[in-house]
Symmetry: C2
Subunit: 355 residues, 2 copies
């Protein structure tokens, strides 16, 4: 049964005898072999579904570490800026340990499920008329001035916790993959995975390193374009970030690994999003699908060696953002009267069209 990452990967983490035994049973997330995507793309595609974490995103791995250390170091309150996933995670772990949690989000620009999470876990939520990058600047200043711990990915414990996903992939495959495809927003996650793969090679737990392929959304592709974007725009709200905090580290991960940072369009993201659900039975959030969309793009450019193993990181659970799913499919459920005759007509038509 699951133990949580602080216990499972204790030897690789800054866990001391004074660190609280905190867990919501994050980690040990599924790695799905994606049969139809593999056939389409021509490489062995695996999906690392981080949406299976307790609050529905990869943030839980870093947050359990950051919140446990905040408590260990005597803090009674934490704060973060968020496009939604970070605040959900911070609020849940803070609730579990009895810490106060303050959250600053861009008003009207985070998915409904994520807002609901922060609120129900009891965080104090402030919505600013501005974007994520502005919210982040604000919480940094607050954390400098007040006795409250910043738990954005600038907090180094976050990266430590998040790197454990790379450990798991090596264990699940028996080796590091050839390619690690990952969405890039604030760029902390690609940084964390790269650190994790390197540490596992150093520890003798893996023999090779993957190429790191990071994918931004076209309308928020600051790293690809080489300059911050003041008004980032994309349907993938979780990576709608115009000035990534871990910009340089993400570039280093791509460079050192012989990989790249590229971008994908919203259309490519939504197409991948639908395929992941319809073909593989896995429902991720739109931003997550940037990894698969990016892999498809690279394959079309002839950059995927046949037979290689690619792991696409799905960063969040599709239930975070049901509205996008309903819009993206353009399918409205047919509504009919609750009479047997009408239902039998429907099934007749359906069955005929299925033949």
């Amino acid at each position: 049964m699951r133990r949580g990452i602080l216990e499972r990967y204790r030897a690789y983490l800054p866990v001391t005898e004074h660190t609280p035994h905190l867990t919501l049973f994050e980690g040990e997330t599924p790695l799905y072999h994606a049969q139809r995507l593999s056939a389409e793309i021509g490489v062995n595609v695996y999906l690392k579904h981080e949406g299976a974490n307790p609050t529905g995103s990869f943030k839980d791995r870093g947050m359990v570490m950051a919140i446990a250390k905040a408590k260990e170091e005597g803090s009674t309150a934490v704060i973060c800026a968020s496009t939604g996933n970070t605040s959900a995670s911070a609020a849940a772990y803070a609730a579990r340990l009895g810490l106060k949690c303050y959250v600053v989000v861009p008003h009207g620009r985070i998915a409904m499920g994520k807002l609901a999470q922060a609120v129900i876990y009891g965080a104090e939520v402030l919505a600013i008329e501005g974007n994520f990058d502005q919210a982040l600047a604000m919480v940094r200043e607050i954390a400098d001035r007040y006795p409250v711990t910043l738990v954005n990915s600038l907090n180094p414990y976050r990266i430590e916790g998040q790197k454990t996903a790379a450990f798991e992939i090596c264990e699940q495959l028996g080796e590091a993959p050839d390619i690690l495809a990952i969405p890039v927003g604030n760029a902390g996650n690609i940084t964390a995975y790269w650190k994790g793969f390197k540490e596992y090679v150093q520890a003798g737990k893996a023999r090779k390193l993957p190429k790191m392929w990071g994918f931004e959304a076209e309308g928020a592709a600051a790293i690809v374009r080489g300059e911050p974007i003041s008004e980032p725009e994309t349907i993938a709200t979780a990576i709608r970030i115009g000035n990534p905090a871990s910009w340089k580290k993400a570039e280093a991960a791509a460079d050192e690994s012989g990989g790249c940072i590229d971008f994908v369009t919203d259309e490519q993201i939504l197409e991948a999003y639908r395929k992941i659900a319809e073909w593989e039975g896995v429902f991720c959030e739109p931003a997550s699908a940037a990894s698969v969309a990016g892999l498809i793009k690279m394959a079309q450019l002839g950059k995927c060696k046949p037979g290689s193993k690619a792991v696409c990181v799905l960063t969040g659970n599709g239930l975070k953002d049901p509205q996008t799913a309903l819009h993206a499919t353009e399918v409205k459920p047919k509504v009919i009267p609750g009479e047997m005759k009408a239902v039998l007509e429907w099934i007749n038509v359906e069955m005929d069209s299925a033949v």
Copy 2:
């Protein structure tokens, strides 16, 4: 790492050499010790969070079994009526195996996340102007007349899969609990848990049986009232069912175990729902909180022996129904201009009120 229930509990399930190796890595869900709830209620409270399953509800355990057997038996299509969770699960597993999935739901009466799931996984969704009980009657007739397999809990494989949650609880606690508190809607789940506990005692894996305490919502309490309810009403949409299919079996589970079937009000459900999130860091759907609400009710009636162990089943993930969370908390995030001055004013007020 996780294996899925067909492999993990193969010896206890109707798995043959011809059964497809189907899994989305359902099961092995967390069992949380609930510290603050334990203190309030006066018994050791554990939360079995079935919302951590791949499609976010306990239905996945039964559905993986039912869909695998449908395929094994040559079926190419499945159908179900649903308040939302069954259809999400059926659609996902059917997608994974390449089966066609038909879903009939009551129009306007299922949570948004659940509808989004069925649609994005590629099911054909029909919304009828009627309630769940009418939808179930219809799909039963369709399954009789057409070459399509019914995967509602009338399908006996569903109960087989679902019973594995009882196995896990015994393994996680090292023994069966004294009390198993569980929401009751269509009544298949309480039936499945009771079967599971009995089988584990027979197999020598547990030494005792829990008392089974099932809780309906007051506005849909057909079993408690002793008659079907034609227009069931409750905020807990997942258990808004007026004529439970497994009625007699649920009564038998309560009777044989020395337990009971009782009801809780929507107000009690929402209060428990908030406490589970704010106190324990666990976000479940409203219907799930009926188990905790029921336990609190029983404790207030003096029916909980101090020091006993009670497991409350949380049947679904809170992200299925974000709107209820936002309404239930009655907290609207404060919206302010994105200026440092305004944010500092907010944090000053917050910090002062926290002292």
